[in-house]
């Protein structure tokens, strides 16, 4: 045992051991990435199942139909006549209809300012009080006048009105039903949900005059298609990558797919053959959406308040009509009505790859954690390395292990590294502020301006620091160590909140682990170019080019998301990723001064 211990101690001082960490961290990244690609396999993913006993999806006959079809047509006529009118005019008409059904109605004004624009409107909502319920809980049926793509919800609004009329006739509701008709898909529902939970800024968003009980779930209908449809598309991404409870999605899949015989699609995978490539694509699309953290429909704003919500979009050419869609909603509402407590049995952290296949957090989290761990490993490695003298004397006597003499250590010069890391961290407030506060017209120019500055900044810092402080190799190691330590720390905690964002940032900043101050100018330039290709603005530009989007539009959406829905992706990009990138660039450009004589025995 003592021999083993002493040999282990000797191993610790073995210079070869110091060569391992870079390979180890490369291995972490590779395993993390490969892990992700294994997930869609049958061995790693699981079939979905209903966990909550109370839901009992698809066990009820749905009776929506028959004369409701005529009611629907009448409402549709009314709604069609409102197209193109102002928000208030529309609400006047809709309110008179809803009031006519015998429901309590109320309106709510909201105004948001983002990217120099004003997003204002008036929400209309109505409460159907459960005839035998105790008004302590409520479920929400949402239809936005315009969907996320700004198309008029021509069938969704009349369908919700018809359903409200139909639901009013039933006496079996245990929870109140709230009908929310918002002018748009993002700001309106956000203002309403904020105000419902008294979490609104009352200078911009009006308080709600009437309320019901705690919200237990919400279904939004986004039905713009005029012809008969084939399948239902479930949109489930919430703000900041939060997801509704998997039981809700499973219930809708069960009711629409099982009971009604419709197709069910996720993540715009209109045709899904349940083979590996399609599963992977669905999963990656889901991850991308989750990573961006944007609101994807009226349901998104509900999820941060722990109200499980999805948006249902009929699509495709088929034989299902509006009544079938109504029955899906009826069935889902009957299931939600059965709930005794909040949905909590099933997963909140999952990646869906098919309507009936998912991986849960326990299975997928290690991949992001491994990627994040690679930064931490490198940070520790560099810290150790910085503590050793630069030039290990080749003929240093092999010290016997039982003599407990310490290895030579170098004194760490922390001032400059800490200053550089702090500087890059505090500079990150500038892009965060700029991109969230300049008006829309100035977004694109300021982006390109920032791109240039972003390229020049590391060079400037490098020149200034070289001129003023003549940094040593050890100091560069420490700069990198600190910035990677922060990066690893942030990403591993982020992975538990928004796995996809942590994974994306982790993979994009992977080169930061492996760049170092190069002595040859060519290597230095190549390293700098590689880093510039993976810089936050460059990635933004590249993704805009790939998806054929305008950079200005992307930035506007990001600013709106920041101001309206409170998306924090921008903070992660500018305050976690960008400073690490900046510190990495400074390291690559650094021309370390080799020092001698600083070796001392501790």
């Amino acid at each position: 045992m003592p021999r083993l211990l002493s040999s282990a101690l000797a191993l610790r001082r073995d210079p070869r051991i110091l060569k391992i960490p870079p390979y180890l961290s490369l291995l972490c990244i590779l395993v993390g990435a490969v892990w992700l690609f294994l997930l869609p396999l049958n061995e790693y993913s699981r079939r979905t199942y209903i966990s909550e006993n109370a839901l009992l999806p698809g066990q009820v006959h749905t009776y929506f139909g028959g004369s409701d079809q005529n009611v629907f047509r009448a409402y549709k006529q009314e709604v069609n006549s409102l197209v193109g009118k102002s928000n208030v005019e529309i609400n006047d008409k809709l309110e008179s209809i809803v009031k006519g059904l015998g429901l309590k109605t109320a309106r709510q004004n909201f105004t948001y300012n983002a990217a120099g624009r004003t997003y204002a409107g008036e929400n209309l909502y109505a409460i159907l009080q459960a005839p035998r319920g105790d008004a302590t809980e409520a479920i929400v049926l949402v239809a936005a006048w315009e969907n996320a793509k700004h198309e008029v919800n021509k069938n969704g609004i009349p369908l919700v009105l018809t359903l409200a009329r139909y639901f009013k006739r039933w006496s079996l509701w245990s929870k109140d039903i709230i009908i929310l008709l918002s002018p748009d898909s993002i700001a309106g529902p956000q203002a309403w949900v904020d105000a419902y939970h008294d979490a609104h800024d009352s200078s911009r968003v009006a308080s709600l005059p009437i309320k019901s009980g705690a919200l237990q779930g919400a279904i939004a209908i986004d039905y713009v298609q005029e012809h008969r449809f084939k399948s239902v598309h479930i949109v489930y991404d919430g703000v900041n990558g939060q997801l509704p409870n998997l039981d809700l999605i499973n219930s809708v899949v069960n009711i629409a797919g099982g009971q009604m015989g419709m197709g069910v699609a996720l993540q715009e995978m209109w045709n899904h053959n349940d083979k590996y490539p399609d599963r992977l694509r669905t999963m990656l699309r889901g991850m991308l959406k989750q990573g961006l953290g944007l609101a994807s429909g009226p349901h998104s704003s509900f999820i941060p308040y722990h109200v499980d919500a999805v948006t249902l979009q009929p699509f495709g050419e088929g034989w299902q009509d509006e009544m079938a869609m109504g029955r899906v909603v009826e069935g889902t509402f009957r299931s939600l009505n059965n709930l005794l407590e909040h949905l909590h049995q099933s997963f909140f952290f999952y990646l869906l790859m098919h309507r009936e296949r998912f991986v849960s957090i326990g299975t997928y989290l290690p991949s992001a954690m491994l990627v994040a761990a690679n930064f931490t490993i490198m940070a520790i490695f560099l810290w150790m390395k910085s503590g050793q003298p630069e030039e290990v004397p080749a003929a240093s006597t092999p010290e016997s292990s039982d003599k407990d003499t310490a290895a030579p250590t170098a004194e760490r010069n922390l001032l400059l590294p800490l200053a550089v890391v702090t500087l890059s961290g505090s500079l990150s407030a500038i892009p965060l502020y700029i991109f969230n506060h300049v008006p829309e017209s100035a977004l694109t120019p300021s982006f390109y301006f920032f791109l240039v500055i972003n390229t020049l900044l590391p060079i400037a810092i490098s020149i200034v620091s070289t001129q003023l402080f003549t940094p040593t190799l050890q100091q560069f190691h420490l700069i990198k160590s600190f910035s990677l330590l922060l990066l690893g720390m942030f990403l591993s905690s982020l992975a538990t909140l928004n796995f996809s964002l942590a994974m994306l940032i982790g993979l994009l900043s992977a080169p930061l682990s492996f760049v170092k101050p190069y002595s040859s100018p060519v290597a230095r330039i190549v390293g700098f170019i590689i880093l510039n290709l993976t810089s936050p603005p460059a990635v933004l530009l590249a993704s805009a080019a790939v998806w054929g989007l305008n950079v200005g539009d992307i930035l506007r959406e990001a600013a709106v998301a920041w101001h309206v829905t409170g998306t924090y992706s921008a903070v992660v990009v500018w305050c976690v990723w960008w400073p690490a990138w900046l510190a990495g660039c400074v390291c690559v450009l650094g021309k370390p001064i080799h020092q001698e004589g600083k070796v001392k025995k501790a």
Partner: protein, 393 residues
């Protein structure tokens, strides 16, 4: 208290009343242990058994019905005020004339065990008590969510198979039943009666260890399953074969009607506790448990007369013994009072109390002495034998 135990003494001396005698009353304890809307079927199970035993003549006063939830008034119920156990909705189980004895959060393990063993406070109304005697046949029907050797009560607690077995044993000791038919419909139901050890119990359950019990069918307008398979097929038998109390169908016939094809789990039966075993148990009529009997035992028979006179004599005798002892002790106490100081009065009082209790155990005192002496002698002999053998080896 003292008097009653004294009264019991001769009865104990007489030995248990002949168990093969007929029963004179029928009771039913019908327990549903789950609440919540999605467990609608459990309440429907119990209510349908309730309807059956009422149909076969057990009056409400002799039925203890435990319902933890009120499905009829649940807002989710599409047919307010009703409970159905069949999708045809022919019989409203919650219609007129229903008496729920324990409802809501009164349905607890403690209350159930207190009910069985009659350990209840004085304030407990008679309608909530199981007022059985040694001539009462009891049907105990339970349903809910269970597991290996436990049955969940609502969402907070569960009753174990041992708890149940001990409760039945207490009932037997307190001569609270003549025969029991224990019936349970839950997952892994048969484990619940595996620990019973008291005599004269026939037990049956819906499923074996590691087997689930399944629901029979759902009513798609109510939106939930309305009855479990095991109960459904029991009811089917009871309704088609046991049309009235004159039915001669036996418990054996009922058990033979169970099959895996119908119930989708292996229903179990336990006869070994019954006097006479399977043969005797199977011969019991279904109406012995599900129906009400009108058998009356008249105290006119020859045996009965001799018994009662003997009993009375014994009571008299024991009273006299007690009286004599009491007198002797009082005398003693008086003597002591004279000689000792007042400080020790309390101790004396304690002693007196002990002595007062003595007559009850007096006759077995010698037996105990003998048993003890024999045991000691036996031990000594064993020890001697052991040491002898050791020496021999």
């Amino acid at each position: 208290m003292k008097l009653s135990s004294l009264l019991l003494l001769p009865a104990a001396l007489l030995g248990a009343a002949p168990s093969y005698a007929e029963h004179t009353s029928n009771w039913a304890v019908l327990v549903c242990t789950s609440r919540f809307w999605f467990n609608y079927r459990h309440l429907a199970n119990v209510l349908s058994i309730y309807r059956t035993v009422k149909r076969l003549g057990i009056p409400d006063s002799q039925i203890i019905l435990m319902l933890p939830d009120d499905m009829a008034c649940n807002p989710r119920n599409a047919f307010p005020g009703t409970v159905y156990s069949n999708a045809d909705r022919a019989v409203d189980l919650y219609g007129d004339n229903i008496e729920v004895d324990y409802r809501g959060y009164e349905v607890t393990v403690e209350n159930f065990i207190r009910l069985l063993t009659d350990r209840v406070g004085e304030e407990m109304p008679r309608s909530k008590r199981l007022l059985t005697d040694d001539r009462s046949n009891i049907l105990v029907y339970m349903t809910g969510h269970g597991g290996n050797e436990f049955l969940k009560f609502q969402d907070a607690e569960e009753i174990g198979a041992w708890d149940l077995a001990d409760a039945f044993e207490q009932m037997w000791e307190k001569r609270r039943y003549h025969e029991i038919l224990f019936m349970i419909d839950t997952c892994q139901a048969n484990t619940m009666y595996s620990k019973l050890y008291s005599p004269n119990i026939i037990a049956t359950g819906s499923s074996e260890l590691d087997q689930s019990s399944y629901s029979h069918h759902a009513d798609n307008d109510i939106g939930v399953a309305v009855i479990d398979r095991y109960t459904y097929y029991n009811l089917e038998f009871l309704e088609s074969e046991v049309k009235d109390t004159s039915s001669k169908k036996t418990v054996g016939d009922l058990f033979d009607s169970y099959s895996y094809e119908k119930i989708h789990s292996h229903a179990g039966v336990r006869y070994d506790l019954f006097k006479g075993g399977a043969e005797e148990a199977r011969r019991r009529l279904v109406t012995d448990f599900f129906g009400n009997v009108q058998n009356v035992e008249v105290d006119g028979g020859k045996g009965a007369e001799t018994n009662s006179s003997f009993e009375e004599e014994m009571v008299k005798l024991s009273r006299t013994i007690a009286e004599l002892h009491k007198r002797a002790e009082e005398q003693e106490a008086v003597e002591r009072n004279v000689t000792t100081k007042t400080e020790t009065r309390k101790q004396q009082q304690k002693k007196i109390q002990q002595q007062v209790a003595k007559p009850l155990t007096d006759d077995s005192w010698w037996t105990k002495k003998i048993v003890g002496a024999t045991a000691l002698a036996g031990c000594a002999a064993l020890w001697g034998l052991g040491s002898y053998l050791e020496g021999a080896v």
